[in-house]
Every structure is written in C-alpha cells, then in structure tokens.
Amino acid sequence: MSPRQILGKVGLWLAVFVIVSPAILFFLWMASLSLKFEVDNAAYPPVFIPENFAWKNYADVLASNRFLTYFVNSLIVTGTATMLAMLIGVPAGYGIARMAAHKSAVVILIARITPGLSYLIPLFLLFQWLGLLGTLAPQIIIHLVVTVPIVIWIMIGYFETTPLELEEAALIDGATRWQVFRHVALPIARPGLAVAFILAVIFSWNNFVFGIVLAGRETRTLPVAVYNMISFDQLSWGPLAAAALIVTFPVLLLTVLAQRQIVAGLTAGAVKGG
C-alpha cells in the first residue's frame, strides 16, 4: 500500500468513527445511567463506569407489578395490531399490485401525512360512545392506523416485483385466485412479509401519542408507562434509565439483527408510523 492509500484508509475510519459515535455514545451513556446508584448519577464530573454496578435498578423495575402489566399490555396491543394488519394488509397489497390500482395508494399517503392526533379526536368520541374506553380495544384499533398502511405499502412494492409467469401458469392449470395467492405468490414474497412485520411491530411498539390519550391506569403501554415515571420520579435517574432501556431494548436488538430488512423497507417506502 502506498502512503496515500494508507492515509485514505485512516481518513475513512476516522470519518466512520465520527459518524457512528453520537449513536454509540448515547446508548452507552443510557446504559451507564441505568447501572449507577444515585450517588454516581449525581456526581460531578460525571462517572462513566461506576465502581459498583446497580443491577438493583433493573430488578426494581422488573419486580414492580405494574411494569409487568404494562409489558403485557404492550405485547397484546402490538401483537394484535400487527397480526390484524398482516391478515388484512398482505392480501390488499397483493390485490392492489395485481389490479395496478396505483391511485389507491393516495389513501396510504394521506395516512402517512396526517398527524396521529387528528385521528384521536373523532375516534376518542367513537370509543367513548361505544363504551370501549378502559379496555385495550381502542388502542388495538387505533394502532391499525400505523400498522395497516405500512403493511399494504411494503407488500404492494414486493408483489409488483414478483414474476407473473408462475401465477399465470397456475391459473391456466385451474387454480383459483386465492390458491394462486396462497401457494404461489405468498411463498415468493416471504422476504417482504418479514420486512412488513418487523416495521409494523417497531412502529406500533414505539407509539406514544395514542396511548397518552386512550390509556387508563390499567391499560397503559410501555412508552406511556415510562412517560408517567418521568413526572413522578424526576430524581431517581437509575431506575428511570433502566426502565427506558428495557422498553427500547427489543427494538434496538431487532434493528441490529434485522438491519438489512429494515433498511430495505425504509428505503422502499420511507414509511414511519404516527
């Protein structure tokens, strides 16, 4: 290697380091906050790696009854909203792609542009009228606003690129459209299903604005629960940071493990929920 090439390599690694460090340092600091006793969190200059790790912060958060309830709530809301969106959205994406009904995508665009709060005003009244407030049903239904457009949007993209020849051959052999969808189109589009599923789960899990209005004491999801901890426990940073890390850890893990799928999905539709 010539000196110039070596210089280029060093420069490149320096640039990579500078670019990635805001993300890495932030999450390391988050972990540091969550593993320190109050003495260390209040120290100046700040302590990065404490002498004694406060694993107790995590134990406290996990041991509280409520946190488990909220965790289960989040699982139910995100799980149901994602499964329903897949059941409804995957066939819809297939139908729209095959009918080449590109104009219908405008509705999805509107859903993408609309602030989440605007759905809340009419749906809040509707849920009140139906007597659903106080259960998880309103949150599951309103999370569909996030998950259904993501799934439809991504699946349209995938079904448009899958080859038609196989499907046409199956139709000529006498298969129904449903059989073609189930046994020919769906298996080919499996990578797309993974992308749609992962993004729907993440954006539903992260959603905050719907819960802050619709959730009662017993029906909070984790982001709302963490927000409420801020207002009540302003000063105990350790447990707070631990709770925040527990809430977002599944998402971070998924991001690093499935970064290929996530990048594919985000650049295809550039979707984001809420």
Binding site: F26, I113, P115, L123
Partner: protein, 312 residues
C-alpha cells in the same frame, strides 16, 4: 452535463409510471377487508373531523352548529399564531441539519469498509429506538447541573447552558435531539441515490484531475438532488408533526416557548376538551402540511427542468 440530463429524464420516467388498463374484478375480494378498515379508521375520522370543526363541541355540553366560527378564531388566537411560528422554525432547522449531516454520512457509508452492515445498523438505532425512552435520557443529559452535556461543554471551555430550560435555547436544543434521531433516515435515502450513480463520470473526472470536493460538487450533488428532495419532503412532514420528543422533554415549555401546532392541538383537544376548535386546528394543520409538500414537489420539478435546460 449530459449525465445530469439522463438522470433527470430517468427520474421523470419513473415518476410517470404507465398504468395498466386491465382491471380484472376477481382481485377485489383481496382488497375488501382492508378497504373496510381504511374507511373506518382513516376516511371516517377525517370526514367526522371536518364536520366537528364546524360545531361548538365540548365534552359534557350540548353540540351546536357554528359554521366557520372555529376557523375564524384561529388568526385571533395568539397562542395558535405563536405555535405556527415555533413550528416553522423547528421544521426548517429539523429539515436542514439532518439533510446536511445525512448526506455527509451517506458519502461515508457509500465507501467499502469492514463491518459496514453492522455499523449501518448501529447508525440507524436512534431513529428506530422508542422516542419516549430516548427523550427521557436526553432530558437527563440536558439537566443544567447534573447533565453530561454541560460537562462536555466545560471540557472544551464553553460556558454551561440551560438547554431546554431556557425559552431562548429550547427550540435549538430540541432540534439537536430531532437531528440526532432522524439524520439516519436521510442517510438511507441518499445512500440509495448514491448506489444508482454510474462510475464513468468519476473515472473521466479523475483523468481530468478533479479533486474529491470537485467531484462531489459537480457530479455527486446534481445526481442525488432528486433523492435530497424526497428526503427533505419526508423530513418536513415528520418534523412538522413531531410530537413525542417535544411532549416528553418540555410539554411545550418553558411557558409556551416550544409549543408547536401539534402540541397546541393536543392541549386544546385533550386538556381543555374543546373538540370543535381542536378539529379546526387539525384540519388547518393538515392543509398546511399538504401545501408545504406540494411546494416542495413543485420546486423539485422546477429544478429538474433547469438541469435539463442547463445541459442544452
């Protein structure tokens, strides 16, 4: 400039995708369930919101039709006017800064280096992480006495700041969080643009003795302009309606110094339960977003034309 022309016309072609005429009705059953759901949770709320915006509609009192009265209240509502100003400043900064940093990051991620995929995964973590969770950590970092940011400032010899606790610095501080969070999305979109650039113009530029900066300015930048517009538009839509970060860190405070339209909408609808007025704000807010998006689209078409004109 011929490459630019080609890229521009290619972009124009993909935009006007030819529509197939054949529409076999047998695919309808696939779409019907989604259609019902979309009508119920997206279209119905919109129509209902428009109707509500024409009424005096407060929780616990009878509803009366008031025509456009809610809309006429808006220009005379100082808090709304102030919120529009905050939204414009917040959005402008939250589009511009991620565009700059995201483009630089994309240029770096376009190079080949070991563990690139993994590092890209790490780089996009801020935008995927739960917003409330990261807002909570930023709140701790902004703390004037115990926060790590003031310690970092002291290391480089700068005076401590009040960050989100000072009306003068609250919006820039929130923009810092928003930039940290959403630079990765711009990076991903621009990275997609860079991947589509052919290698030939760089080869001929290298023969002609162009340096890195010249190649970036005269080859890369014109070719990724369409992608910068897409990124800018998405960023604009998201920044205008940003809620989680602002709400969790400042709730629009101190006072109302960081209250954007979306936060004011929340207060009107779900703190004061003035649902009619809240609906009017929601409608105006939506129209504002659509207009901004349309202006950006128009600008994008204009630049495509000037690039073609410049090549001729």
């Amino acid at each position: 400039m011929s490459v630019t022309t080609q890229a521009a016309s290619r972009a124009a072609q993909t935009e006007a995708a030819p529509e197939r005429e054949l529409r076999p009705p047998s695919y309808w059953p696939f779409v019907v369930p989604a259609l019902v759901v979309v009508l119920a949770i997206i279209i119905f709320p919109w129509l209902f919101t428009i109707w509500m915006s024409l009424s005096e509609w407060k929780v616990g009192s009878p509803t009366t039709f008031v025509g456009l009265a809610n809309y006429l209240r808006l220009p005379n509502d100082p808090r709304f006017v102030e919120a529009v100003g905050h939204t414009i400043v917040y959005t402008a900064l939250s589009v511009l800064l991620p565009l700059i940093f995201g483009t630089l990051a994309a240029v770096v991620f376009h190079q080949k280096f070991p563990a690139r995929g993994f590092l890209r995964g790490v780089f996009i973590m801020p935008m995927m992480a739960t917003p409330v969770a990261i807002a909570l950590v930023w709140t701790m970092m902004f703390h004037p006495q115990l926060g790590v940011l003031n310690y970092l400032l002291s290391l480089v010899g700068l005076p401590p700041q009040l960050w989100v606790f000072n009306p003068g610095t609250v919006i820039p501080s929130l923009v810092l969080v928003e930039t940290w969070q959403w630079t990765p999305l711009v990076m991903l979109i621009v990275l997609g643009g860079l991947a589509a650039i052919p290698i030939e113009p760089y080869e001929s530029a290298e023969i002609d003795g162009a340096n890195f900066w010249q190649m970036f300015r005269y080859i890369t930048l014109p070719l990724i302009t369409p992608f910068l517009f897409i990124a800018g538009m998405i960023r604009m839509i998201d920044a205008v309606k940003s809620f989680d970060i602002i709400f969790a860190i400042t709730q629009g405070g101190p006072g109302s110094a960081s209250e954007t339209i979306n936060l004011y909408l929340y207060s009107v609808a779900f703190v004061y339960y003035d649902l009619g007025y809240g609906s009017a704000i929601a409608v105006v807010f939506f129209i504002l977003i659509v207009i901004l998006a349309a202006v950006l689209l128009y600008l994008r078409q204009r630049t495509a034309w000037t690039e073609i004109g410049g090549g001729a």
